[in-house]
């Protein structure tokens, strides 16, 4: 990807996240409650809207400790995600891989990358073009839940498919 394209993608990313996902660069990956402008997202009842993708299908899958294999539940969610992406080709996606705090910073970056990649590979296998999917790892830098217990860790070990403006290959 050229720098220009990368820059364009980022501008698009920022623009989309600014309206659909106001805390993307604030509160973790923006999965926190509240603050979502439904006008920009579209209605969760509208199957072509990012809101539908995020809330009705589910934009995230969870992982077991130190694992990047997809559970049956995860595969089921990702199959729905793939169908949505195939039906809504105006959008692309950035897949964020995250880890819980039980691990060293560097290892968790690599683990987050594995998780994001597992999701990416699954979506590609379902027919989504690789050109529409980017991955990024946050390691343990962006926890969603803040307690130091398995109840929080389970939600932090996640890969989130963030819908972005499309049109860039």
């Amino acid at each position: 990807m050229t720098h220009l394209k990368k820059a364009a993608l980022l501008v698009a990313l920022l623009a989309v996240s600014a309206c659909t996902n106001p805390d993307r660069f604030g509160n973790g990956d923006g999965g926190g409650p509240g603050g979502i402008e439904s006008a920009e997202l579209g209605s969760p009842g509208d199957p072509t809207s990012p809101a539908y993708f995020q809330q009705t299908i589910g934009d995230r899958v969870l992982f077991a400790v130190d694992e990047s294999t997809l559970s049956p539940e995860a595969r089921s969610i990702l199959s729905e995600q793939a169908i949505w992406l195939l039906d809504n080709r105006d959008y692309n996606a950035v897949i964020e891989g995250h880890a819980d705090e039980q691990g060293t910073r560097e290892y968790n970056l690599a683990l987050g990358a594995r998780r994001a990649s597992a999701v990416q590979q699954f979506l590609i296998a379902q027919g989504v073009s690789p050109d529409r999917l980017q991955t990024v790892t946050y390691g343990k830098e962006r926890p969603l839940e803040v307690c130091s217990a398995e109840s929080c860790y389970a939600k932090n070990r996640r890969a989130v498919t963030v819908i972005t403006a499309g049109g860039i290959s």
Binding site: E106, L109, Q120, V136, S148
Partner: protein, 445 residues
């Protein structure tokens, strides 16, 4: 971005004539702390306030005395004798030492000094160190001169000289630490690259909090810092020039993420992790650009590479065996030898500047430890234990390790701690606010 004052301060240093000797008396051995001794009793030392030889140097004399005492006592190797128990009052730098008076309060060593400030703002700091029971001066008197603004560095240099004369090893006080200054709640952390004196003083920020920054590492001469930045939205290795705080992202192949960079001992090449298609391997490249060499090639996670001080080998972590373990490979890649075999998982290995030990993070039974082992994996010792300790960095003399300790729970926050490689003297580095990912500079020139 804030511009930094030049790091290097030109300090002059010259030997002074020996102090007049009041009396000389022999005793069995020299004044010496053997750092490898497993049972070190802190040595009682007398640290009378340095003399202000010009009236405008009084505040400097007081502050310099305080920093020297803090350096020495902070090692855990010395115990300061309260000044109110002194018999001889040191009123002049050249007044003869009454050894009997210092012996009577069981002071093993005595440090005297004086500070003067001339009209051009130049500070002169001189000191003498005495072996009280031998009744003689230990080494020659020394004098440091420089701009008054570098009074703190001069104080550290005095403490380094005292440490060196008593332990026979180089000190570590005139050094800096680059780290990540953190603020905000756990789910909205703001991170900035910051630099400070080793003791937490003089914190300066090198980046703003606009993107995530991770794990800064000093170049061997302290002029550059490597770190991982999310400036582009993706983790990417960045090199920053300390003198102007200007950062430059290194060119990496498209659709890759890069992190965990470290300099080679000559400062020309770097090793780092590159993630492509979800797989993380170790690569080496010229820091000024050029071709990239792949050093590992497995489907496992390979990260946290660190050079040996001779630049010939690289220690790193890999989960190729199924869990995180430590390996050593030749600098050009090739067959790696596993060195960690204990219970639990091992990560973030860092080669000691002396070459003898490797510090690491260990996870076992839900606890984190900072530990050291010899380069063949033998002699493993865990120095700390907590909810989350990670990311060791070595003092320039290889005697102390600084690391990140994060507290537990929703209000948990990281702080910097240091510990002796003996496992003694665990201390929190006093910094306002949360801090993580320390990297210790070499001793400043």
């Amino acid at each position: 971005m804030k511009k930094l004052a030049a790091l290097s301060v030109i300090l002059t240093c010259l030997a002074l004539l020996a102090a007049p000797v009041a009396q000389a008396q022999e005793r069995s051995g020299p004044l010496r702390i053997i750092l490898d001794n497993p049972t070190i009793e802190p040595m009682p030392v007398a640290l009378p306030q340095f003399i202000a030889e010009t009236p405008n140097a009084r505040d400097y004399a007081e502050s310099i005395s305080r920093v020297i005492a803090s350096d020495l006592i902070g090692t855990g190797l010395f115990r300061e004798i309260p000044r109110n128990s002194f018999i001889q009052q040191v009123t002049s730098f050249d007044s003869p030492v009454q050894y009997a008076d210092w012996r009577a309060i069981n002071s093993q060593a005595l440090l005297t000094g004086a500070v003067s400030l001339d009209s051009s703002g130049r500070l002169v700091l001189k000191f003498r160190l005495f072996d009280v029971f031998a009744g003689k001066q230990l080494g020659e008197g020394l004098q440091f001169g420089g701009p008054a603004t570098s009074w703190r560095r001069m104080a550290h240099k005095v403490a380094d000289a005292v440490y060196a004369r008593i332990t026979g090893e180089t000190g570590y006080f005139d050094s800096r630490v680059v780290f990540v200054a953190e603020s905000g709640p756990k789910n909205n952390r703001r991170k900035r690259i910051a630099i400070m004196d080793y003791d937490g003083a003089n914190v300066q920020y090198l980046t703003d909090a606009s993107s995530i920054v991770i794990a800064p590492r000093f170049s061997p001469n302290g002029d550059r810092i490597l770190y991982t930045s999310y400036d582009t939205g993706f983790p990417q290795v960045t090199v920053l020039d300390v003198s102007n705080a200007r950062g430059r992202q290194l060119d990496m192949p498209a659709k890759t993420m890069s992190f965990a960079p470290r300099f080679s001992p000559d400062g020309r090449t770097i090793v780092f992790s590159l993630t492509e298609g979800g797989n993380t391997d170790i690569f080496r490249m010229d820091v000024n650009g050029g071709s990239m060499a792949r050093l590992t090639s497995t489907p496992a996670i390979e990260t946290a590479p660190s050079f040996s001080p001779d630049g010939r080998q690289i220690v790193f972590e890999s989960d190729r065996s199924g869990s995180q373990q430590l390996y050593i490979m030749p600098v050009g890649g090739g067959e790696a030898k596993r060195i960690s075999f204990g219970q639990g998982r091992y990560g973030t290995p860092v080669w000691s500047p002396r070459g003898d030990l490797i510090a690491f993070t260990k996870q076992n039974n839900g606890r984190f430890h900072i530990g050291v082992m010899r380069t063949d994996g033998s002699g493993e010792r865990l120095l700390t234990a907590s909810f989350l300790d990670e990311g060791p960095t070595w003092s320039p003399n290889g005697r102390v390790i600084m690391f990140t300790r994060e507290s537990q729970g929703a209000d948990g926050a990281p702080a910097l701690y240091s510990v002796d490689i003996s496992g003694r003297n665990l201390r929190r580095v006093p910094i306002d606010g949360a801090a993580s990912d320390p990297s210790w500079s070499p001793l400043l020139p």
